[in-house]
């Protein structure tokens, strides 16, 4: 589903955000991207949803080659992804259901299907009772659930979550994390960038650790090597 091959990303000032990053993510995987801020997690995320292009190397996401993506293809790729951020990115002047419906409307979804699809994902994230609430009337955890519902409404093959629990208290963090695990259990690839190591240690999901733009640990690769020794 995701293939990074010897990827370099340079900032305009010449500094390297990513140095020779290589990893593959297969169908059904849940992957943690960990590391300190500035280690390159967010850059990997931006390359994944084609916000940026690699300076060198190959990035392939869900069948699209990000290096050679034409302007017209960027929206097509993004319709196969769901993206969630630390700051939720909801529209304050629209209710929960309107925020989700907006994501369908702007890609030209058939209007007679929208209401049902919105209700389905709101139920999935456990917020069907608060569909008419505005973001300011919801807790942080609930707002992130709305954002996740918006990311899911298009049935994405891959869900990208960039520090989704960064602004949440412990209880809300657990709830959102469980939701992401459920989503993954349904077959969606989840890539979650986080520096919450407690969360990472709770599970046996794959961990890719970044430091200064390089992959310093990949549980899949390193454990396989340890076993062969």
């Amino acid at each position: 589903m995701i293939r990074f091959g010897n990827v370099y990303k340079a900032y305009p000032n010449g500094a390297l955000a990513l140095k020779d990053v290589t990893f593959h993510v297969s169908k059904g995987e849940f992957v943690f991207l960990t590391g300190h801020s500035g280690a390159g997690k967010s850059t990997i995320m931006k390359l994944l949803f084609a916000e940026q292009k690699p300076s060198a190397g190959e990035v392939r996401v869900s069948g699209y080659n990000v290096n050679a993506l034409k302007a017209d293809d960027v929206p097509r790729l993004r319709r196969r992804l769901g993206v969630v951020f630390q700051d939720f990115r909801l529209l304050e002047d629209r209710t929960a259901e309107e925020n989700i419906a907006f994501a369908l409307e702007v890609i030209g979804a058939r209007s007679d299907t929208i209401a049902a699809r919105v209700m389905r994902v709101l139920t999935q994230v456990g917020l069907s009772a608060k569909s008419r609430a505005y973001p300011r009337e919801l807790s942080g955890g609930e707002q992130q659930r709305v954002a996740i519902a918006r990311a899911l409404v298009n049935d994405p093959a891959i869900l990208l979550a960039d520090e989704p629990t960064g602004n949440l208290d412990e209880r809300a963090t657990r709830g959102v994390f469980q939701l992401l695990r459920d989503i993954n259990a349904g077959g969606t690839v989840v890539v979650m960038a986080t520096h919450d190591l407690d969360l990472v240690r709770q599970t046996s999901y794959r961990i890719i650790e970044m430091r200064e733009g390089s992959v310093v640990y990949d549980s899949q690769v390193d454990e396989a090597q340890a076993e062969t020794k």
Partner: protein, 289 residues
């Protein structure tokens, strides 16, 4: 399409002050263009009145048989530039002189012999009253053997010519300048709207909306603002026109207002300005994010 209209209209409701500002600036820009248009229109109207009086007079040699003159008149009225030809006989010329030149009335009354020659007066069609055409027709009149002399206000026609060119040019330059100002102002107001909605746009991009889909509501919004601004500018122009006409104490009683075609053009121009302004702003914004 429904969504497009809704989103465009929503921005009017969400930012009524900003929208009103945009519409007003468009209206005032177009109002300025419109006022200048009105001045140019009325100036042209006045010039046309003057032009009507452009006339070429060919004096006929004494003793020319009237049949020859009639044939020649027929011939001349066949020229493509010529509107009509009239023959003024010697007696008519004398009669006219007596009526118009009051100071010499006594002198003309005592005359035993009529000193005035007969003449052919040629008036030109609309659009042919420039110096070059007048000169060309005058030359052809001279070609007739019985024409003694040809007169027309050469300098006067030339002055009219340059006046006409200057007003056209000045109108064009000032009109274009104000149109450019209008585009910039519209661009800025749309840009403010875009910045206000930057979050919305970033989300639209994130979930995979195409650039044309994102542009759509802004373009429609710009066009709508241009439409409203265009209408408002017409109202302002009309108010200005009425005020000027009625307060001038009759001096400008003959002032004319735009034809319906002109009004439609102004409104269309407003829509185009609105579209141009929003296209520039949205294009720049989408390139940057």
């Amino acid at each position: 399409m429904k969504l497009l209209t809704r989103e465009a209209l929503l921005s009017f409701r969400r930012a009524p002050l900003l929208s009103a500002l945009s519409v007003t600036t468009i209206a005032f820009s177009l109002f300025t263009v419109g006022l200048f248009g009105l001045v140019a229109l009325n100036l042209r109207q006045a010039l046309r009145g003057l032009e009507e009086r452009v006339e070429i007079v060919g004096f006929v040699l004494r003793g020319t048989p009237s049949e020859a003159i009639a044939v020649a008149s027929q011939d001349i009225s066949g020229f493509p530039e010529v509107k009509d030809v009239s023959y003024v006989s010697e007696e008519e010329a004398l009669q006219r002189a007596r009526n118009e030149l009051v100071e010499f009335r006594d002198a003309y009354r005592d005359l035993q012999v009529n000193p005035l020659p007969a003449s052919i007066e040629v008036r030109l069609k609309d659009g042919f009253r420039d110096a070059a055409t007048v000169e060309r027709v005058a030359q052809r009149l001279r070609g007739f053997g019985f024409i003694d002399d040809v007169r027309y206000g050469r300098e006067w026609v030339q002055k009219l010519d340059s006046l006409r060119n200057i007003t056209g040019l000045v109108g064009l330059v000032i009109g274009l300048a104000f149109a450019a100002v209008a585009v910039v102002i519209i661009g800025v107001t749309i840009r403010l709207t875009i910045l206000q909605r930057a979050r919305e746009i970033s989300i639209m991009r994130l979930v995979g909306a195409t650039n044309w889909f994102i542009r759509g509501p802004f373009l429609l919004e710009g066009a709508l603002k241009g439409l409203l601004g265009g209408f408002l500018s017409l109202v302002l122009c009309y108010a200005g026109y009425l005020l000027f006409r009625d307060k001038s104490g009759g001096t400008f009683a003959g002032l004319v207002f735009f034809d319906p075609e002109h009004m439609v053009l102004i409104v269309i121009f407003g829509v185009l300005l609105g579209l141009a302004g929003s296209l520039v702003s949205v294009g720049r914004h989408l390139k940057h994010v």
